[in-house]
C-alpha cells in the first residue's frame, strides 16, 4: 500500500479514501452525500480525454470528478 497522487492513477487501480482536504465545504458535503467517506473503496476506471474529469466506480455507481474535485480526496492505492 502506498500513497500516490491522482496523476499516478492507472485504470483498474483500487483506492481507499483516507481523508478529505481543502476548504470547499460544500463540495465535501456533496461528496459525503454521494457516499464518499473515509474507508470507502473506489475503482479508477479512466480519465476523460484532454485532461478531463476522472471516472470512478463506487460500488454500483459511476462517478465523474474534476481534477480539482479529486484533489479534495486523500487516498491510498490498494
Amino acid at each position: 500500500m502506498m500513497l500516490l497522487n491522482q496523476y499516478d492513477l492507472v485504470p483498474g487501480h483500487s483506492l481507499e479514501i483516507s481523508d478529505f482536504q481543502g476548504s470547499d465545504d460544500l463540495l465535501i458535503e456533496r461528496m459525503h452525500e454521494m457516499g464518499l467517506r473515509i474507508g470507502v473503496r473506489l475503482k479508477f476506471i479512466r480519465r476523460a480525454p484532454f485532461s478531463g474529469p476522472f471516472l470512478f466506480q463506487l460500488s454500483t455507481t459511476l462517478l465523474a470528478l474534476r481534477e480539482e474535485e479529486l484533489a479534495c480526496l486523500k487516498f491510498k492505492v490498494l
Binding site: D24, R30, H32, E33, R37, G52, L62, L63, E69
Partner: protein
Amino acid sequence: MSEVQSPLVEKKQTYEAPLVALVGAPNSGKTTLYNWLTGAHAKAVNYPGSTVDYMKGELAHHWKKNKINVLDTPGTYSLQAKSDDELVTQKILSSFDHELNPNYVVTVLDGTQLARHLILAEQIKLTGLPMLLAITMADLLKSQSIELDLEPLKKHFNCPVILIDGRLGGGVQELIEKFPQNSSIKNKSVIKNWSTEELDQKATWAEALAHEVFKKSDEKIPAIWNQTMKWDRLFLHPVGGTVSFVVIMTTLFSSIYYLAAPLMDQVDVLFAFISSWLLTLGPQNLFLDFLANGIVTSFGAVLIFVPQIFILFLGMGFLESSGYLSRAATLIDKPFSKLGLSGRSFVPFLSGYACAVPALMAVRNMSSERERWIARFIIPLLSCSARLPVYGILLALLFSESAAWIPGLVLAGLYIGSMLVSAFAAGILNKLIKQDKKSFFLMELPLFRRPRLNVILIQAWMKTKSFVTRAGPVIFVLTVILWIGTTFPNYQASDSEKIQTSYLGIMGQKIEPVFEPMGLDWRAGVGLIAAFAAREVFVSTLAVVYNVADENQEAGLLNAMKAAQFKDGQHIFTVASITGLIFFFMIALQCLSTVGIMIKESNSVKLAIIQLVLFNVVAYLIAVGLVQGLRAIGIS
C-alpha cells in the same frame, strides 16, 4: 444536528385536488413515472423566482381516480441544496405557502442505486411529509435475477414501498391506490441539515439496509453495467470519443437545420399565402394590410421557430435520457471550465449556431444561475442560421469575381470568428461575474438506456408550447410595432415608396450621419433597422429600398447594390463598407425574437435592453473602425 427553516405552518384545508410530488435523484426515473401517471398531460411550471422548469399535470383519466395533480421536480441528490435547481426541490418540500407545495411525496429511488438513494429517502422522511417509496428499474434487477425483500424498507420508513417497472408500467396502478383522496392532510415540514459525520453514519446505515433488501445478492448489480462500460470505452476514448461527439452533435444540429427547414418553409409559405389572400380581398385597405402584414406576419414570426424548438428539445431529450449527454458533458468539461462554465452546459451553446431562440430556452436546463447569465449573454453572438443569407449576399458582392471556394473559406472563417468572439465575451463575463456559489461537476454517470419515445415527445411538446405562450406575445408585439414603423404614414404608396417615406425611412434619412462612418447611405441604414425583425429581412428590405424589380431578385439585388451610389456618385458597397457590414452582423443583436425571449427567460427587461444596446454599439464601433481603417490604408 441543526435544523433549518422549520415553518411549522399547517396547510389550510382546501378543496383543491391533492398534489403529489415526485422527488428523487437525477436519472432515477421520475419523468418516466410521471408519464405513466399523467399520460400526455403536461404543463411547464416554474417555482416563483426561478426559471428552472418542470412538469405538472393531472392523473390520466384511464386510471379512473378523482382529480389528483402530479408534479415532476428537478432531480436532487439531497435536500441540502447545492445548485439552483436543487434549491427549487428543497423549497417545494420545505415552505408551505405555495400552490406547488405537495400533500404527498413519491420518493423515487433507482433500484440499482438503492444504497445511495436511501439517504435522500431518509431526509424526505424526516420532513414529516406523508410519502411512499417507488423503487424503479425493477426490470433491470429482474434481468439479473436479483430479488428484493421490501419488508425492511416498509418497517423502517413506515410507508408503502412499491416496485416500478418503467418500461412496462408495472406497479403504477398499485402506486396510485396509495395516493391521498383529498388535500386536507396537514403537513409540517422540517429539513434536517446533516453534518458530514451524520451523513457518513446514514450512508453506512443505508448500505446495510440495502444489503438486507437485496438478500445479499447486490454483488450482481454491477453486471447491469457491463454493456455501459463497453460503450464508455468508445464514448470516452480520446479519438473514438471525439469522433463520436463530433458526429452526434453534427447530426443533431444539422437536423435542426435540415429537418426544420422544410417545415419552416411551410410555415412561411402558409403565412405568406394567408397574407396575400387577405390582401386580394381589398387592395389599399389599411385594415386588411394590418391583418395581412401586421398580424399574420407576426404570428408567422412566432410560429416559424416551432419546428426548430421542437426538434432541438426532441434531440436533447434523446441524448439526455439515453445517458449520452453526461458523457458529452464529461468530454467537453475541460475546455468549458476555462470559461467558467461546466461541461453540462454545452448544449445551449451548440444550439445557438442554429438559432438563438431555442438556445436561450435550453439555457433553463443549466443548473447554475451564474452560468445561465453567461450563456444568455453570449448566445446571441453565435453565428445563427439567420445570418447566413446576409453573409451570402455580402460575400457574393465582395467576391463576385473570385473562385467559389474563397467565399466558402471566408464563411468558415466567420463561423470560427464568432466562436472566438463569444469565447472572448464569456471569458470577460467569467472575470466580471463573481462566483457566489461554487458549481461542481461531480456527478453520477447514468447507465446507457434506450429512451422512451413518448416521454421525450411529450417533453419536447411541452417546451414548444411554453415557447409559444411565453415568448410568443412579446415577439408578436415587437413585430407589430416594426410593421407600423415601416407602413405609416404613407401606407397607400407603392412598396418602395412606402418604406422610403415611412417613419422608419424618415428616421433612416434623419440619422444618415450615423451610417455614413460605416460607409453606408440611409437606404442601407433602413435595411439595418428593418433587420431587427429578423436578420434575413435585411436582404429583402434592401431589395425594396433599392427598388429591385421582382424577377430574379438575387441577381437583381446584387446588380442594384453594385450600382448603388451616394449623391456624389461614389459607390456605396465597397470592399471597406461590405467588410464593415459583415463584422457588424457578426456582433450586432439584430433580432427582436431574441430580445423577446431574453426578456422572458431572464425575467429582466433591463438585461435584455443592456444587451441589445451594448452589442449593437460595439458592432457599430467595430464596423466604423474597420471601414475607416481600411480607407486609411487605401482600400475604399
